[in-house]
Symmetry: C2
Subunit: 215 residues, 2 copies
């Protein structure tokens, strides 16, 4: 047995090129998720490794609510780890997504995240976290700059209507702040251009920044 | 402005082939991370998309401890979300990793996770979560079956020594249970074969199960 334990334990880690995180931010209804998914399709068609993180695959899993976690966990567990919309909950929501974005980036993926992420400080913390694991350029802030009036008219999930009626409290843009980015790498005119054109603008950025390497 | 709001908002989601999650489980020092990283290198060399999630990239980020989170957050925040080693904390640790594993799987990656994950229920919950989003076969349990005596002799981080001295409480295999898998898809004889052979066994499984498609 002594011999077996003399195996040298050396944790070799694969050296792979990093991807990046395209961090879409903007009001509810601004088009973040729609544009991100359109970019994802274009990258997929180009043969580039990409993936979208958004409410659809995060809010029921990694960042599940108290209600969802209550099902198969104790009440104390669900209350502690389940995420709502308080400032601390929003902060943790973004922190976890940023951490996962970094993992995808380290895996070489062109990673698209689509979350309101209303606080500048939270977004900047993610930027620092990701850049500190790699380099400047790994975090690309994409501001989907769609005017509130348009978002509210679209109101795809009926949330603005509920917020105006007071049925939802702390809704970004209505009774909670949205802090627009000051130096976003990409600004998309979400109210005045078709999805296709906005997505193309992002793909073009990736090509010019050298992050899109296709065979 | 009315016209602009008539854009059809259709969230098209890319249809891509799923990867899988190779869930390495076993005692501290059993070789989980070392073998997973060796498999990762082999897959990388074969041109297959793969990635390792282990303590090195999870414990300081996504599942950071109270101590780490205290740095730039309130005490209440760090206490609530920081993870330690209580049963609830271990449960949440595994739940988050399982959720991230599912995201990588959905992104088409051959995902290797390397965590002690001592509780059968927690592992089975991850299996159900991942399979329910895809299909049976997406979760592959890899039991690194290295005898405790060998793990303790290796003791790469000096943890067994501390646990025996009572400096660490609740250490798996010493004063906390390890529940071995009952029906792991892959069992690796971690105490008696070289790393290279164990890694090859995993790659062979991927080839035979059709999860490894290389050009």
């Amino acid at each position: 047995m002594t011999e077996k334990t003399h195996i040298v334990w050396h944790d070799h880690v694969v050296k792979r090129a990093r991807g990046c995180v395209l961090w879409f931010t903007g009001l509810s209804g601004s088009g973040k998720s729609t544009v991100a998914n359109c970019v994802d399709q274009k990258l997929f068609d180009l043969g580039a490794p990409s993936f979208v993180l958004d409410g659809d695959n995060i809010r029921h899993g990694l960042n599940a609510s108290v209600e969802i976690l209550t099902g198969e966990n104790s009440e104390a567990y669900a209350q502690r780890f389940g995420l709502g919309f308080s400032p601390d909950d929003r902060r943790e929501n973004i922190r976890r997504i940023g951490s996962v974005g970094e993992l995808f980036c380290a895996a070489g993926m062109l990673t698209l995240t689509a979350f309101v992420s209303p606080y500048r400080e939270d977004r900047n913390r993610v930027r620092q976290y990701i850049e500190s694991h790699g380099a400047v350029g790994d975090f690309v802030e994409v501001f989907v700059d769609t005017p509130l009036e348009i978002c509210e008219q679209r109101d795809p999930k009926g949330l603005y209507q509920k917020a105006r009626a007071g049925e939802i409290k702390g809704f970004t843009g209505i009774d909670a702040p949205y802090e627009p980015p000051r130096e976003a790498e990409i600004v998309l005119a979400g109210g005045s251009k078709p999805i296709e054109a906005l997505a193309e603008q992002v793909v073009e950025y990736l090509k010019q920044s050298g992050k899109l390497r296709v065979g």
